[in-house]
Symmetry: C2
């Protein structure tokens, strides 16, 4: 496995960004390599191309599988396992969002629910609880919304995105469109 200059640049960059995206450098590099390589690629080849240890490679692949970004691909006649992306770019992006939501939002929601159950001990706590409640509601909206968007599927989502500022105008008319239901405010 020898990487072309273009692929090398991209892989290195995804490594750098990896940590900002929720995984570490090598995991980012491995992901980029698998996505950019049209053929399935073995763990051995990955380790060689990125110049990292076989053990590290194994752990990176395990993590990518836990994120459902990469899957194994069995090549008939070959003994070793090969790896390929778990779907198209759209699917992968969705998975990253979803996975991050699980890690970044869900635990907080859960804690907030707990903290809001107790009666406030005093004025200060009552105020804090009020703030926490606001945060909880916001996170709940975000969660519901992101699930909603995922259910729309790529095409509709794309339509919605392309709609751009039309969204604002549409909202103004929504009550006429969908009378009764969801009349917030």
């Amino acid at each position: 496995m020898k990487m072309t200059p273009l692929i090398t640049s991209a892989v290195m960059h995804f490594g750098e960004m990896g940590s900002r995206w929720g995984f570490n450098r090598t995991v980012g590099q491995i992901l980029a390599l698998i996505v950019l390589n049209e053929e399935p690629i073995s763990a051995q080849e990955i380790a060689e191309a990125l110049n990292i240890s076989r053990g590290n490679t194994s752990m990176g692949l395990k993590e990518l599988q836990s994120w459902r970004l990469v899957k194994q691909h069995h090549v008939p006649g070959e003994r070793k396992e090969f790896f390929i992306p778990a779907g198209d770019i759209w699917t992968l992006a969705n998975r990253v969002f979803e996975e991050r939501r699980k890690r970044e939002i869900d635990p907080t929601m859960s804690l907030l629910r707990d903290l809001l159950l107790d009666a406030p001990a005093n004025e200060k706590e009552a105020n804090a609880q009020h703030k926490l409640n606001e945060i909880h509601d916001l996170l709940e909206s975000i969660t519901a919304w992101s699930e909603e968007l995922q259910n729309l599927g790529p095409e509709k989502l794309n339509t919605l995105m392309k709609l751009g500022s039309g969204v604002g105008r549409m909202l103004e008319l929504k009550d006429k469109l969908l009378p009764g239901k969801n009349s917030v405010n």
Copy 2:
């Protein structure tokens, strides 16, 4: 500054989550403390409440200001600076999104643009470039969309979120509503 048990739990949790949200433990704790405290709070008080060094507190506050999540608040007659949240919960959440977009997406967009300028050296590179292009377009859509949502402002955004599955139904009717413009598909 003595924290009540409720506030302590919340602050500790935000500390734990901090790293997942793009900043470190103490920065997360400081933010939570400032948000949950109704009165403005001084750097000294923060350091004592969280039991961290004054230097660390200073750096944390600086970072929170660079994220535009916290601002200084001058109390007349007092010599020291106090700190308060830079806005309501909604505003803060928006700022976090925006700031993360800048750190997590923009640099990649920029690299991708560069990589797509060069002519592919061979078959392999052509394929990789095609993938990179897909990623670029996806990120571009996400960026445009998130800017759009921010321009809607909190109230409309909330309306949109609460609309839930209504979004799907509305999209089907959109051409009747907004004839001519934005007719994607």
